[in-house]
């Protein structure tokens, strides 16, 4: 009877918490501000229907291209910028995975001079791994490789996200899986074929000059008018359709050869919530194919900036455009979305530009620099994607599965309760109540943790109900045994719970250990199974050991019940 008061409080708090956490699933709590629980239970794609895609990212293809561009630009630099000019006669990429390049010079002396230049200029990027006469082999430093690879993944994710935002899917999930894969999960997607097609197209990057001659307020008004006239908004349709419609409506109003695209306003969470319209000149003809590389660098005060390097054709076009548009803004447009629109300060002739981000909070600037450089890379060096796995579940199938599983679960639960109550009488009622508490708090935890309930997850719950039944039976049988031996109810209960406890703990801890392993090694469905198993184990201990003991203690000690029916006949008791 130690800590009885605290245990009662704990039990009541636990049950209340479970009910509160579950509440959003059966009532609308979003309007009640003070209500602590807002989250609903997430259903996996196998239940709610949707599409699950695993895309392989061709990192090596990008590495090959990156190394080639690096070598090309080095070749140019060695003849123009190096103090001792050298000709790089020939180069080839010998290993794409590590960015290994073999350079051939005219003679060994040239190779030495080039090595000096590369060491000074690219010492933090490249390392020499072999030297033979006029040949040298360089590769990227390991930290550079890690960085490059993670950027390729980041830019692919960015590209895919752009595409999916088009569809306005409620809660898309796009995440990295393993070293070179991207997992895309789109719940409730009806238009799967189109989504797949879109995901597989590469991003289009454009550099366009912002036309400041048009009055911004006027543009806003035209857009408003067009929206009212056509009865549409950005939120109600795909972005690309919206842009097309707006541009049709505004033709004639904005100057010839220009278009209206949109960017996300600085403090808005989504485009729909706050967008900025840009009138852009469509005649610049500078795009992703002209850009070699983009990366984050730091200015003299350590402020983050984005460094761009154009290829020779791009550099020429860029020089002309910047020369003609000083003090105008150049928009960076990825898939018709304006990502940034920095001001052109001077003519840039060598194809190396820097976008400064102005004076602000360091972290914000860094985030923006990352966003811009990712967008630039996505458009200039797109990684090829390959579909490796696809699982698509139609909404009717998922609905069928969950309905059937529910039927089975209700029938099973009903049988368990009926049996426990018939066999263990009053104690069976306590056992049934504790199993119900166990399942409720399990679902409550699942909801609160934002975990996803999948079909194998339901099996995990079924399994933990099995454990819960076992825990109850162990306890009841133990109490019976003690009673048969002649123990008083008080003693029988204490002994019954404490002795059954060791078996319950051991078995649950072992299974939990296995569940943790599954969580680490398993994929998709297996993980869902492991999660519910782990949660179920925790709630089994709460419901069947803690909660039911509190009820029984209350009956015996507080309400002075002398004899609880547990399904023992007088004959059994007489044996003792």
């Amino acid at each position: 009877m130690e800590n009885y008061r605290w245990r009662v409080i704990g039990a009541i708090a636990g049950v209340l918490a479970a009910i509160v956490l579950l509440s959003p699933n059966f009532m609308d709590t979003s309007k009640i501000n003070w209500w602590p629980a807002k989250k609903k239970l997430n259903y996996g794609l196998d239940i709610q229907g949707g599409i699950h895609l695993v895309m392989g990212v061709d990192i090596n293809g990008v590495m090959q291209e990156t190394a080639t561009r690096q070598a090309n630009s080095l070749k140019k630099e060695l003849t123009t910028q190096a103090t001792e000019k050298v000709e790089l006669v020939n180069f080839k990429v010998t290993n794409a995975a590590t960015g290994e390049m073999e350079f051939e010079f005219q003679n060994a002396a040239d190779a030495d001079k080039a090595h000096k230049y590369i060491g000074d200029r690219y010492g933090t990027v490249l390392q020499m791994i072999e030297r033979k006469d006029k040949y040298t082999i360089y590769r990227y430093l390991d930290n550079q490789l890690v960085d490059l690879r993670s950027k390729v993944i980041a830019q692919s994710i960015e590209t895919i996200r752009n595409r999916i935002d088009e569809f306005g899917v409620a809660e898309p999930s796009i995440s990295q899986q393993g070293d070179n894969r991207i997992l895309v999960q789109l719940p409730g997607m009806a238009d799967a074929e189109q989504a797949k097609k879109l995901i597989n197209t590469t991003a289009k990057l454009d550099f366009m000059i912002v036309d400041d001659t048009v009055n911004y307020a006027e543009v806003q008004k035209w857009i408003k008018d067009a929206e009212t006239a056509g009865n549409f908004t950005m939120a109600s349709m795909k972005y690309s359709d919206y842009v097309t419609k707006i541009n049709e409506a505004l033709r004639g109003k904005i100057p010839d050869k220009s278009v209206v695209y949109f960017g996300k306003a600085e403090n808005a969470r989504t485009m729909d919530a706050g967008s900025l319209a840009y009138v852009l000149r469509a005649d610049t003809d500078l795009g992703g194919t002209d850009l070699d590389d983009a990366s984050i660098s730091f200015g003299q005060f350590g402020d983050p900036q984005v460094a761009l390097r154009f290829n020779p054709t791009g550099a020429n076009k860029f020089a002309d455009i910047t020369g003609n548009n000083i003090n105008k803004r150049m928009a960076i447009v990825l898939d018709r979305i304006v990502k940034s629109a920095p001001n052109i300060q001077t003519r840039i002739g060598d194809g190396n530009a820097v976008i400064t981000l102005g004076q602000r909070n360091q972290q914000e600037s860094l985030d923006e620099a990352k966003m811009i450089s990712t967008a630039l890379k996505a458009g200039s060096l797109p990684a090829a994607l390959e579909q490796l796995e696809e699982r698509r579940i139609g909404p009717t199938l998922g609905a069928d599965s969950i309905r059937q599983a529910q039927m089975g679960a209700y029938a099973g639960a009903f049988l368990i309760f009926v049996f426990l109550i018939l066999y263990y009488r009053a104690m069976g009622l306590v056992a049934s109540a504790s199993i119900a508490v166990n399942v409720l708090s399990g679902l409550g935890l699942l909801t609160a943790l934002g975990a996803t309930l999948t079909l194998p997850g339901i099996a995990g719950i079924a399994l933990t109900v099995g454990f819960a039944v076992d825990a109850n039976v162990l306890i009841q049988e133990r109490i019976k045994e003690e009673l048969v031996k002649g123990a008083s109810w008080k003693l029988a209960i204490r002994e019954g719970y404490s002795r059954a406890m060791s078996a319950i703990l051991d078995s649950n801890v072992t299974v939990a250990a296995v569940a943790i392993i599954l969580l680490n090694f398993g994929t998709g469905p297996i993980r869902g199974f492991a999660v519910t198993l782990l949660i179920g184990i925790a709630t089994t201990l709460f419901g069947n050991v803690f909660f039911s003991k509190v009820i029984v203690d209350t009956l015996i000690y507080k309400w002075n019940v002398k004899n609880i029916s547990i399904g023992l006949s007088d004959k059994h008791l007489a044996k003792a």
């Binding site: 099973g412 079909l455 099996a459 049988e477 078995s507 801890v509 072992t510 398993g522 469905p525």
Partner: protein, 315 residues
Amino acid sequence: MNQKKVNSNENENYGRFDFVGKTPLFGGISLLLVLASLIYLAVGGVNYGIDFKGGTEIQVKFAQAVTMDDIRKASEGLGIGEVGVQGFGDTSEFIIRFQGEQGKDDKETNAKLNEAIGKVRSMIDTQFKDKQPEIRRVDTVGPQVGAELKRNGLLSVFYSLLVILIYVSLRFDYKYSPGAVICLAHDAIITLGIFVFVGKEVNVSILAAILTLIGYSLNDTIVVFDRIRETDSEHHGKSSKYIVNKAINDMLSRTVITSGTVFTSALCLWIFSTGTVSDIAFAITIGMFFGTYSSVFVAAPMMIFIEKMKFLAKA
């Protein structure tokens, strides 16, 4: 506690049944079943589903009656290699399975597979248009992912068994742990045998089912071990046979009630559901039986066996 000791001293009998005495019989049966399953799996081969070998499954339901032959005939003309058609649930619902053709490397195989999916889909949409098809599920696993899923699946089973071995040795005694692991392997092999025997393909959800079974069987074995350990500490000096028999007899009603209850509810789940849940419920249903059986007739005798080995080694 004292009371208990007095009681058991008065009654030298360990209970109603001599479980340990039946070890040769049930051990023989178990060995036979495991061997039969292994031979069956080795000869017939495990029928891996698309999760592990790569390929595509399309589940399609027609509003109007369509026969399996219709689909088979229509698929043969597509030139995408072998196509399997299987009825599912209602008469007008089918699963169409194919692996596509082998390319010279994984990448090419994958591309061919994706191409084949397009062909099958357009076949369904055009040739069966008037039957109102509804594509309810499409699962495609490329060869690269398939190999990986298989590896991860096997690894997770292996590590699970390893962890159990270590935990049981630490928490109980090393003499218990081989019994626990052999008992789980026994259950998993026999269930896998049964699964393949009834014609189920082994895929990720079957793996989840087998893990469920291992989970239950483990739970049961640990409960039995716990009771043996407890009986052992109270009747130290008695023979292992006496202790094991007494422990199992003492908890016999628990074993029967728990397995009976869970068996029934798993059976309900199995009867009502289809697909993944049905597979898992089926595994729990079989697993309930073998899990309970193996704790008593495999795990416990194993423990006595290890103890005897230890004794012999000392002598």
